[in-house]
Every structure is written in structure tokens, then in C-alpha cells.
Symmetry: C2
Subunit: 241 residues, 2 copies
């Protein structure tokens, strides 16, 4: 049974301000929630209908009706459970070979896809403060559980790039052809905003501008989707390991 | 000025049945529409508000009010123009080096991203009949104009694969590591459905199963997003050319 103030509180977590203040975020659906719990994401509270088969023996569980689940879900046909997790602290001592830096990515689907890619390729992720919040429900859903396994840090990019000692690569339209570039094992790769690319304030840190060459003769083709380009470039860093 | 039946007809084109019967589809927004026209997509009719600066001197133009545009747009804040184009005939004599075959891709965003990728890498696209319709408005929007420049054909995959003479590769979870596989210039690459991968009916045509290796130690990570995986594999086919 949910009180009015509980419903208001849960729906409030769809807003970044409320998530930040409470350091909590929402995940929906059996598979996504169980995946988070198995990946040790700290659970705050779980709401489930009587249909839910609690195989993981979760303690912090509140039984609710299907009608109540609809009132707190973002979906028109929600899938039995909705969970609230604590936002984990990024681990600044977690040094992986490749660090991906996102300069103001706006689209939740793109960020979700990129987080899933970082999980697969074992990459650390640093996002500019204006990048869409990774605990936005659309991002969380698009990561397919990967958000529990990727070390994600929001910080001032200039500050990070100023103090970093690794070679800095950046995706641009007129750089060296990536297929003909020898890439180091330990590096930083910067990807820019969907519409504007890497901002001028950050561009100056790019020591090695790289480009995915275009094969079609269609000069109108502007660019690849940023998640697509990120995938291809991360694959290039990892393929010779 | 739009009549009630015109409004009904245009909105009907959001459904696949109506698009197929009339061989027409919708594109919205100045950039996307102009991009289509510059890429020689055959225009059927263009609806524009008085704000639209008709720099391309388009003939088939109907002036409408902003209120009317809202009635035929899928967006809450539409961008000055909405165009109806004729669905082009796929060119079966258009033999590019790489042909990508999609076995029941469901998500419009994924298909749109893949079409944009095919444009960039100069790849032919063959979709199974159950793949989401490429003239679905969400797909069209996600292609960012690339739909005008990619040769897309919907057909029975068994029929196509039976008669094809090129080596057939397929993305699977336990194939040869793609980074250690020598890939030919001319080939067919099959990508499967988001949830189920390549169907058993199509799997038997795969002569060369290939896999993108996982680098993280997280055994829970299931897979990459299908558009991400397609990008990485297409890049592998093209990187040595």
C-alpha cells in the first residue's frame, strides 16, 4: 500500500534535482532490477505486485497493487516491479586502460548505448556536467543493466584533462584516419555533442584528432550517430589488445 | 489550407498499411526535408507555414497555418515544413562490396542508426519482411536524411541467401573473434533481432560466425546493442580497404 506522499516522492525521482538531493534513482522491470541487484547496486526500496516471484529473497520489499504500480511507473504496461536504488559513489581509484570522455551528450538513448559499450569493453566513463544525467530513467533503461557495472563520473572536463597524464584523442571530422593510426593501450578518448561536436573549450586538449573515414560518395552525409562513432573508435582502441 | 480528408490522409501515412498502399511516406523539419530533396528523393507534396524560406524553389508546395501543421505533425513543436515523398524502388542492380542483412530488427531507432551507418560506409541493406518498416516516421527521423541515399530492400531472407554467391558472415555470441578473422572485401553480414539474435531458419546460412569479444569481467553483461554491434562489425569489414 502506497501513501500519496510516497507516490509523489517516487514520481519526483524522475527529475534530476530530486535524484541529486536524495541520491536515489528508479529502475523498472524484473530483468533490469534483478540484474542491478546481482551487480551489487545498493537497493533502497523495491515495490512489487503479488505476481512477483521473489527468487532473490529481497528484504526491502513493499507489496503494492497493479493500479499502484501504474501510478509510479513510466510505462503504460509496467512489469511487476519498480525499484529505487542508491546512486553509487564513482571510484576515482579505478584506473582502466581506456577512459571515455563525453563532452555534453544530450540524448538519453545515446548515453545509455555508450554506457552499455563501456561495460562490454571495460572502459571508464567521464561525463561533462552538461551531459544528460545517467540516472535519468530513459538512460537507465537503455543501458540494459550496464549502469550497475560502469564507473561513471560527472566532473569538469578541463579540470580532468589538465591533470591527466595519458595521451588524449578526440573524434573530429578532419583528423587522422583512425584505421591508419597506431593507438596506445592506455588513453583518453573525447567524444563531442550530437550537433556541435567537441566544444572549443575542450578541443584544445585534443593532442591526437582522429576520424572515421567516409566510404560513400554522398557528400550530403553529415556524420555518424555519436554512439555509433564511439563504438567504432572504442573498438579500434581495443582490437589489438 | 487543408481539408479534413487531407489531414486524415496525411495522418494515415503514419501507418504502414497506408504507406504501402499509397507508396508514400512523411518527412518533417526543414533540414531533413531539404536533405531528401537534394538527394533526389521524389517529392509528392510539401506543406509549409508562411515562415518557410523556400530557397530550393520547390513547386509542389501548399501553404498552411501553424495550427494546421500541428494537426499533421508528430511533434508538439513542428519545424515549419512537412513533406510527403514517394517510396523509391530498390535498385537490385546496385552491387556494393558489403551487403548487410537484418533478420527482424524491431526498434525504429536501431534501424535508423543502421541506415545512417550504411550511408557512411557505402553498404547495401536487405531487411527481412518482419523488420520494422524503414518508412516509419521514427526510423526516417533517426536516419538524419540517410534514408534517401541507401539502397534498402525488404525481401525473404532465405530466398536472397540461397541465391547469393558471396561469403556469408553472421554475428553470434560464440563465433570466431572478429579481430582475429581475415575478412574479404565482398561479403554478406547478417545481424539478428535485438532479443533473439539470428533466427534458426536463417542461422543455417551463416558460413562464418563472428563475435565481438567482451573485455570486462562482468559475466552479467549480455550483449551490445544491435546498432552498436553492427557498427563495429561493418567497420571491421571496411578498415583494411
Amino acid at each position: 500500500m502506497l501513501s500519496k506522499s510516497q507516490i509523489k516522492f517516487i514520481n519526483g525521482l524522475r527529475k534530476k534535482k530530486q535524484r541529486t538531493e536524495n541520491q536515489l534513482f528508479i529502475v523498472e522491470g524484473i530483468k533490469a532490477v534483478e540484474d542491478m541487484i546481482l551487480s551489487k547496486m545498493p537497493l533502497h526500496q523495491l515495490y512489487a505486485t503479488s505476481l512477483y516471484n521473489n527468487e532473490l529473497n529481497i528484504d526491502q520489499i513493499t507489496l503494492i497493487s497493479e493500479k499502484e504500480l501504474k501510478m509510479i511507473s513510466q510505462f503504460s504496461t509496467p512489469n511487476q516491479i519498480l525499484a529505487i536504488f542508491k546512486i553509487p559513489q564513482p571510484d576515482s581509484h579505478n584506473h582502466k586502460d581506456l577512459t571515455l570522455v563525453l563532452d555534453d551528450i544530450n540524448d538519453p538513448g545515446n548515453l545509455g548505448t555508450i554506457i552499455r559499450l563501456c561495460d562490454w569493453y571495460d572502459i571508464n566513463l567521464i561525463c561533462s556536467k552538461n551531459t544528460v544525467d545517467c540516472y535519468n530513467p530513459k538512460v537507465v533503461q537503455a543501458t540494459m543493466g550496464s549502469i550497475a557495472r560502469v564507473n561513471i563520473c560527472y566532473q569538469d572536463l578541463s579540470e580532468f584533462l589538465n591533470t591527466s597524464e595519458r595521451p588524449i584523442y578526440g573524434a573530429v571530422l578532419n583528423g587522422s584516419v583512425v584505421y591508419q593510426t597506431s593507438l596506445p593501450q592506455k588513453a583518453i578518448l573525447i567524444m563531442g555533442n550530437e550537433a556541435n561536436g567537441i566544444s572549443s573549450a575542450i578541443e584544445k586538449y585534443v593532442q591526437n584528432p582522429i576520424t572515421i573515414p567516409q566510404f560513400g560518395k554522398n557528400q550530403n552525409t553529415e556524420s555518424l550517430n555519436v554512439a555509433t562513432a564511439t563504438a567504432i573508435l572504442c573498438s579500434e582502441f581495443k582490437r589489438f589488445l
